[in-house]
Subunit: 392 residues, 2 copies
């Protein structure tokens, strides 16, 4: 079966996370992603822990299914080869600090002269315009500046980072939407364009109702642990072995829950009679419920509450996630075999297309593994030219 | 200037967050999004706090730029009008529990008979296949089941939810990528397809290096507050008024930082000499640095460290985010004027396209505001037919 993006050629100049996550999605959907790495150590993340042997598991999970060619873009000979690739590419992705590509003579304005059909995606910390445009950015900096850190964590405790790099990852997702949108426009207009996505912008875009809450109340929203701001009971309660989520927001579920927990005396207690009452007395409610939930394990509560018709969810640690029957049934953990590191498990592709499904099957490339393939099969160079290129 | 998705017609049957966030992006990019709401109260989130007057700011921020038509899909007359819309639509988005559309006789198989070019996107809690497919899902449940909650929060403290609904929002983003990809395929094949995105799958997809860390070490990763797992100093330090992020990972930055903080005696202290040493003694390091950072405000440290060449970032609360010069320069806070609620500020569109930029300018619709417009201008009905439809 044909893959969705089969035939789409992507030049990937990006490093570490935001850019590579974007091109990972494109590769999973069937695009030919040619990763252009600098000589020496290649993508910085090849040196990131954890390792399997000498291979970075971090790098391998993000770069599955891509090809690697080593080119030094500061060198005229290599730059000429790169420009040959630009001529026949559909998409270019880079996550340099704004201005870096221009300094190399490879900014969007220059490249579109060579290939007006090129979709050029730049994913950067703060975007290509505005007063902070030139600042260096790290995931944690944009999580902090964009507000999500100020609403994540426990009340009256230090702010905490989201446990995964949502600053990079959401920029990758919005960037991918931008690329696919620009390709759709190109189908009609014949012309490419520049997609400029800033990590900080994306953090603002995912704040959900926090901006509205601030605008309406004038109060900056605060972190609430695992507690729902306006429904109770709806948070993580302690169990014998960890925690369990009980979202039992309406009065019928509240009564059911009290029956199952053996605390029927609270059903009509004026402190807890309606959702409004329960939200007003949520601290007392938490302590009362916690006393009971502590007496059994999460697995026990899952069974008891599910069979009693009360919604419930476990807080899975990663070891549980990778064995979860639903996660496995949806092929969200896949095993790939790397030529050096051997078999490894990585996250699958969550975009399930009925007619042109993606498939995660090829491992990440070794540094420069496809240099000769790219020169020969993509650019059509002959043996002589390849040999001359390599010997220089 | 033409918008990127101008001419794309989207039927939106979705409610609350995951589906509406997806169609919000499509509307921001220029698509015509026709929101089909049930009679009575419409989209559930019209009743969600906070309110401006009687209008939900939650609903208004997610549904800007869409049209609203009221149709009761359990009623044959309304269903017939809906099927007329399906015939001329490009995309349909729904976030019902799997099977709901089939029960209405409106499942993908039925709709593609009517319009083989339709891209049908289903965003659900657990996806349309697998053992949990029929379970109800809430954002907090998939955050908990998907592992992100187990790695967010402080060490040895209760797990905390990410402060925004990343379970819904990442599903919206992957769903949008799926839709745009299917539209690209259709440009060539002439055929639509079904896009099936599960919220739990998306949580697994954004775990980043946590899966690799578990696979390599056999240890489930734990929450670390705001601390970077492998670089130090790199976390939030307390200031006189709040906190500040200092990511000073390499030895040169460490020396610079010590100079600025007036603690040069630690530069070559064997506990802190290299990054490896600093990571090994990160608790002591935190206390030592925190003693100094506590003596000034975040704004003071921002100025002192920036001018000293040490990376630094504030942890902005939402009131600061909406006034940030970069956020404003990037048009990430935009004001729209609602016919009933008046002017309000909402998050902008982070996908900046050079040739076909989006624009957030139209407010969210009142319930059924565009019913007549849809019947007349989209379906081409005459006055008589519209009158008959309304009187039935």
């Amino acid at each position: 079966m044909k893959k969705a993006l089969q035939g789409l050629r992507v030049l990937d100049l990006s490093r570490v996370l935001a850019g590579p996550y974007c091109t990972m999605i494109l590769a999973d959907l069937g695009a030919e992603v040619i990763k252009i790495e600098p000589p020496g150590d290649g993508d910085d993340s090849r040196a990131f822990a954890p390792f399997i042997g000498n291979e970075s598991a971090y790098f391998m999970s993000l770069n599955r299914g891509k090809k690697s060619i080593v080119l030094n873009l500061k060198n005229e000979k290599d730059k000429a080869a790169f420009l040959e690739l630009v001529r026949i590419a559909d998409v270019l992705v880079e996550n340099y600090r704004p201005g870096t590509m221009e300094k190399l003579g490879l900014g969007y304005e220059a490249l579109r002269e060579i290939n007006p059909r090129l979709v050029y995606a730049a994913i950067s910390g703060f975007g290509h315009t505005g007063p902070y445009s030139q600042r260096p950015a790290y995931d944690m900096i944009v999580q902090a500046m964009g507000g999500i850190m100020s609403i994540t964590g426990e009340p009256n405790r230090p702010p905490t980072r989201v446990g995964t790099s949502v600053g990079d990852i959401t920029a990758a997702l919005f960037g991918t939407i931008g690329i696919m949108t620009a390709l759709n426009v190109r189908n009609e207009s014949g012309k490419g364009q520049k997609v400029d996505v800033g990590m900080l912008d994306c953090q603002v875009a995912i704040l959900e109702n926090a901006i509205a809450r601030y605008e309406v109340t004038g109060q900056a929203p605060k972190p609430m642990g695992s507690r729902h701001p306006s429904i109770a009971p709806f948070e993580a309660y302690p169990t014998k072995d960890y925690f369990v989520i009980i979202p039992a927001g309406n009065d019928a579920l509240w009564a059911k829950l009290c029956n199952i927990l053996g605390i029927t005396q609270y059903i009509d207690d004026p402190r807890f009679k309606t959702n409004r009452d329960r939200v007003a007395n949520v601290e007392v409610l938490y302590d009362l419920l916690g006393e009971v939930t502590k007496t059994r394990t999460t697995a026990e509560w899952m069974e008891i509450l599910e069979s009693g018709g009360v919604p419930v969810g476990p807080i899975n640690t990663i070891d549980k996630v990778v064995e979860d029957p639903q996660v496995l049934a949806r092929e969200m953990i896949v095993e790939i075999s790397h030529p050096v590191a051997g078999p490894m498990k990585i996250a699958g592709n969550p975009i399930k297309l009925s007619d042109t499904p993606g498939k995660v099957s090829e491992p990440a490339p070794l540094l420069g593994q496809h240099t000769e393939w790219v020169l020969r099969d993509v650019l059509g160079w002959n043996d002589e030219r390849i040999a001359a290129f390599k010997s220089e």
